[in-house]
């Protein structure tokens, strides 16, 4: 037979409390198994069974303050003499009867209420202490709260109706991926305007902005490979290939098909690849290999009249380039104002992997290639 006592958690602690019995009276317990949570003002502690046996008698209620060192339970082992156990328990009860024990927590601090009723009360702003419960032993139930709402003044309003859209499928995957990326990687976003005049000329020949940008980024990454990398634990791993993902909006959300080995492809090859991938994305015909293996991502929101945004890095990568709309803006050229088609690039990068200066230089190079696409064929 072993007693369990209320332990001292603080040096000057005179009294403590049982927060929660984890096992009930009569339950079998294993040695070292937590059987009760006790607390002082600031500390909680699991108290474990000192021996295996039966939790024969619990002497202390939850939420009642009592002196440190008081017996709170008795555990009986199979080999114990039942007569001795009974005599011990009776003596313990008599001695505890003389111990000052404070009143249990006042009723208004723990109102018996069903979880649904509590949620409704919170929603309607009802003080549960003012509600009479009609459930078992005065428990407040849903109907009691609804009745309280009816009795409120006329200006009380029901909460607004809500349309619930389950977070499933691609939406759920996107939610999980952007959350984990945004929380794990300290994002810094740099923005830079670029002159789209030359790119516009190329566009008239059938080469898309997306293709020009993919080639510009792929070429710039060869000078700044740190932005074509991933962080694993405490190692930065630079990818050997440059596989550029292009974020495409589809009905279910967003998907990023990948142009593999972009640094090895010509501008024309990339243009064909991009058209093919976008068409397949919209028709939901992309293969696994076409949506995996990306090392860098481009996200173009220009078609939605977005100028600047702060894209979130695709998990497993170190940077993402956001593209805004092309819009005519005034530029100063040789002290004269000229109107030029201008696009803003927004580069978000993982500051654990690269610093602002490197990212800025990379972006400058992307801008240079975009403004001078003839450099992309060299």
């Amino acid at each position: 037979m072993q007693t369990v006592i209320l332990p001292r958690l603080d040096e000057d602690q005179k009294s403590g409390m049982i927060l929660e019995w984890l096992k009930g009276e009569g339950a079998e317990v294993e040695k070292d198994e937590p059987i009760v949570i006790v607390m002082s003002e600031k500390i909680m502690m699991d108290v474990s069974a000192p021996v295996s046996g039966k939790l024969y008698k619990i002497f202390a209620q939850e939420n009642v303050e009592m002196p440190v060192g008081q017996i709170i339970a008795v555990i009986v082992e199979p080999s114990d003499d039942p007569n001795i156990v009974s005599r011990f328990v009776e003596e313990a009860k008599r001695s505890l009867a003389g111990v000052e024990v404070k009143e249990p927590r006042k009723p208004e601090e723990k109102v018996p209420i069903s979880p649904l009723a509590r949620k409704l009360a919170e929603q309607y702003g009802i003080d549960v202490a003012t509600v009479k419960g009609s459930g078992p032993e005065g428990r407040i139930v849903k109907e009691d709260i609804l009745r309280a709402v009816e009795e409120l003044k006329p200006e009380a309003k029901a909460p607004p109706r809500i349309l619930t859209i389950p977070l499933t499928g691609i939406r759920k995957i996107i939610a999980e991926r952007v959350s984990s990326s945004h929380l794990a990687a300290p994002h810094v976003t740099l923005t830079m305007d670029a002159n789209a005049s030359e790119a516009n000329k190329l566009k008239e020949t059938g080469i898309s902005y997306n293709a020009i940008l993919i080639k510009a980024v792929a070429k710039a990454l060869q000078s700044y490979p740190i932005l074509n990398s991933t962080l694993e634990g405490d190692q930065i791993k630079q990818f050997e290939d440059v596989n550029i993902g292009l974020a495409v909006a589809i009905k279910e959300g967003l998907i990023a098909p990948v142009v593999h080995d972009a640094e090895k492809k010509t501008l024309a090859e990339i243009n064909i690849a991009v058209e093919d991938l976008i068409r397949k994305a919209r028709e939901n015909r992309l293969s696994v290999s076409e949506v995996t293996g990306g090392t860098f991502t481009i996200s173009n929101l220009g078609m939605f009249e977005v100028d600047v945004f702060t894209p979130i890095i695709t998990p497993g990568q170190s940077a993402i380039l956001g593209i805004g709309r092309v819009v005519d803006k005034p530029h100063v050229v040789s002290a004269r104002i000229e109107i030029k088609p201008t696009v803003t690039f927004s580069l978000s990068f993982d500051h654990r992997i690269a610093d602002g200066a490197v990212a800025a230089q990379f972006l400058q190079l992307v801008k240079k290639f975009f403004e001078n696409p003839h450099l992309l064929s060299s």
Binding site: R8, L9, D10, E11, Q13, L19, D32, P34, M39, S40, E41, K42, I43, M44, M45, D46, S48, N63, E109, K110, P115, R118, K119, E122, G125, D127, A129, S179, L183, A184, P186, G233, D234
Partner: protein, 244 residues
């Protein structure tokens, strides 16, 4: 001495953050995970002590108006307001570790002083104030709580760096009557204090005080499983959060 695991495991969902806190303590207690230092934040939340009465400590109407989430943690102590200007730091260690005190409440002094020492490295003369507070300029910037299991102890605390104190005093009306004024580092220093620097300084405080070195790690599969289970079974439910 073997390096402790450094966890920057922070979730957008505050209920998940608490579930992870418990899962890590259980794993360290069962010797499935190493001693750990964790840094994390909650967005726009009120975190209630284990057996605190919400009605007394929290203005529910203001919380509803400001979209503040209410969460009950499994450790004791008071009720706090947390936003991304508050850094939570958590120390999980085996009771067999030499740092483990005989009197459990000594963990507050042990880690409160180490955190204060770390802040000192940034020129912030913070001090540990018994029983479980860190002060700066005589005002509270951090409160500590602890949970002892059979073989492991968790000591965790807040650190107000740039928390919105106006919202804090609106959602926690009892703070107005508190004996110790609450403040945040940026308000007292009148300058920005970057989060990453604070984290690094706390780690340095731990190293200089107790030779605790850390190595970046991640949650184990078992910890994630346990956290998800207790998220759904307990921490995200109103039965737990609105228990008192």
């Amino acid at each position: 001495m073997e390096a402790w695991r450094l966890l920057n495991a922070e979730f957008a969902d505050p209920y998940m953050n608490i579930a992870v806190e418990e899962a890590v303590l259980i794993a360290v207690n069962e010797n499935l995970s190493p001693n750990t230092v964790r840094f994390w934040r909650n967005v726009n939340s009120v975190v209630v002590g284990r057996n605190q009465s919400i009605n007394k400590a929290v203005d529910l109407n203001v919380c509803k108006k400001l979209g503040v989430t209410i969460i009950r943690r499994f450790t004791g102590g008071g009720t706090v307001y947390q936003d991304h200007g508050n850094l939570n730091w958590s120390i999980f260690f085996r009771r067999s570790n030499p740092i483990s005190p005989i009197i459990i409440s000594d963990v507050f002094k042990i880690f409160g002083k180490a955190v204060a020492k770390g802040l000192e490295l940034l020129g912030i003369n913070a001090n540990f104030y018994p029983p479980n507070m860190i002060q700066f300029n005589g005002k509270k910037i951090s409160g500590l709580a602890a949970y002892a299991k059979r073989d492991a102890i968790l000591c965790h605390g807040t650190l107000l760096i740039s928390t919105n104190l106006d919202i804090l005093s609106e959602v926690l009306p009892l703070h107005k009557n508190s004996l110790t004024e609450v403040t945040c580092l940026e308000k007292e220093l009148k300058r920005q204090v970057p989060l990453s620097i604070v984290r690094a300084s706390i780690l340095q405080g731990l190293e200089e005080s107790y030779d605790i070195k850390t190595k970046l790690g991640s949650l184990s599969e078992k910890e994630m499983e346990k956290a998800k289970a207790s998220y759904y079974e307990k921490y995200s439910g109103s039965e737990w959060n609105f228990k008192y």
